[in-house]
Symmetry: C2
Subunit: 204 residues, 2 copies
DNA sequence: TTTTTGGTATGATAGCCATCATATGAAAAG
DNA sequence: CTTTTCATATGATGGCTATCATACCAAAAA
């Protein structure tokens, strides 16, 4: 037998992470498979042993490479006050005006949503599932997991959480296109509105 | 002398309009110059007699091809009640859930903002100026033009208008990526919020 | 009608891209 | 140590892209 199976798995994960970085930086259409592999410290040879196509890789990135979801999933507070504080901190940092550069580099929702919209069914499904998980994380409490939170929430609460998520992502997408003060202040206003919304959402 | 100068101008406008359509449909990076010229009923030969580069064409599209701005600029009401009604109708149609397809095809803000964010300085400047004009149109009243509206508005009102615009554009960008009911309801909620905001903005 | 002018078409160039075919080499199993 | 196995590297292919050079041909001016 050749190299261990876990070695392959680790390499696959490395390619996935590299793809996320390069896609977010340059966009999906403008990124070559060679560039992804180079970012991972490899050459194009092995790529198709791990992913059937560039678009399948994109779908995989959209399915799993979301720092915001990871941070929300890592909340550990027991009391609902602490939970609310943690959530506020994560969303507040995420929408902080001076973090726009890093966020854009690091957040797939902010950087890749528009690219996902032009993808095939597989890509769009992956994005949709990730968005749903984000909404679930926003609805979640210390006592429930993501699926429970989604299943138990009223359709009204689900819509509010989805609106919150869409507003925040949309604000980052728009803010990334302009650098004038107008957008910086708009981002600050949106940030305040989002923090208010999450309070209302987690208070009930 | 060869063909009239106005003929060249008309051809240039035809290329510009064709570019807008194809860019919005396929995205900037995925669109070839040949495809733009074919959409305009021409071949690639004459392109560089009209625009110095593909990216310059993109900047030109971002500077001028915004249906939303055109519709807002066409408002003609005298009374502030009629003005508010017209504005509500334009924004309401723009954010109507069942218009998402056509809007995405027709609205450069919804379709091209993310692409503009990855463009060069020229592209970003063109997008920024268009966004500013959109904000000016939102602040405008029957008595003022865009520049006056921008100059006279308090920075607070400017920020509110920019937030409104960013929320609406962002919602459309996000909604274009998913087709589930979650986003459809979120879009409806955002639409209601935007209409409320524009009322507040135009009431003062 | 002839000439001139410049917008447009055709053809070319140089480079890039996604994907595949083959070669290589390292490590695990014997 | 030898053999096997497969992840990865190298090289190739067919196609696409932005841009340029040249050729053509309509129309305006003479």
């Amino acid at each position: 037998m050749p190299l261990s199976a876990e070695h392959k798995e680790r390499t696959r994960a490395r390619i996935l992470a590299a793809a996320g970085r390069v896609f977010r930086r340059q966009g999906y259409a403008a990124t070559a498979v060679d560039a992804v592999m180079a970012e991972a410290g490899l050459t194009r040879g092995g790529f198709y042993a791990h992913f059937p196509s560039k678009e399948a890789l994109f779908a995989e990135v959209l399915a799993h490479d979301h720092g915001l979801i990871r941070m929300l999933a890592a909340r550990r507070a027991r009391s609902s006050a602490g939970w609310r504080r943690q959530t506020r901190r994560i969303l507040g940092d995420w929408l902080a005006p001076d973090h726009l550069g890093p966020v854009r580099e690091g957040c797939s929702f902010a950087a890749l949503t528009a690219d996902a919209a032009r993808g095939g069914p597989e890509v769009r499904r992956a994005w949709g599932l990730a968005f749903e998980r984000l909404v679930g994380e926003l609805l979640r409490t210390p006592a429930t997991d993501v699926d429970q939170a989604l299943a138990m929430a009223s359709s009204e609460r689900r819509a509010l959480a989805a609106q919150l998520a869409a507003n925040a992502i949309g604000m980052l997408v728009v803010a990334a296109a302009g650098e004038d003060g107008l957008l910086r202040t708009a981002q600050a206003v949106t940030r305040a509105a989002v923090l208010e919304q999450i309070d209302r959402l987690l208070a009930s």
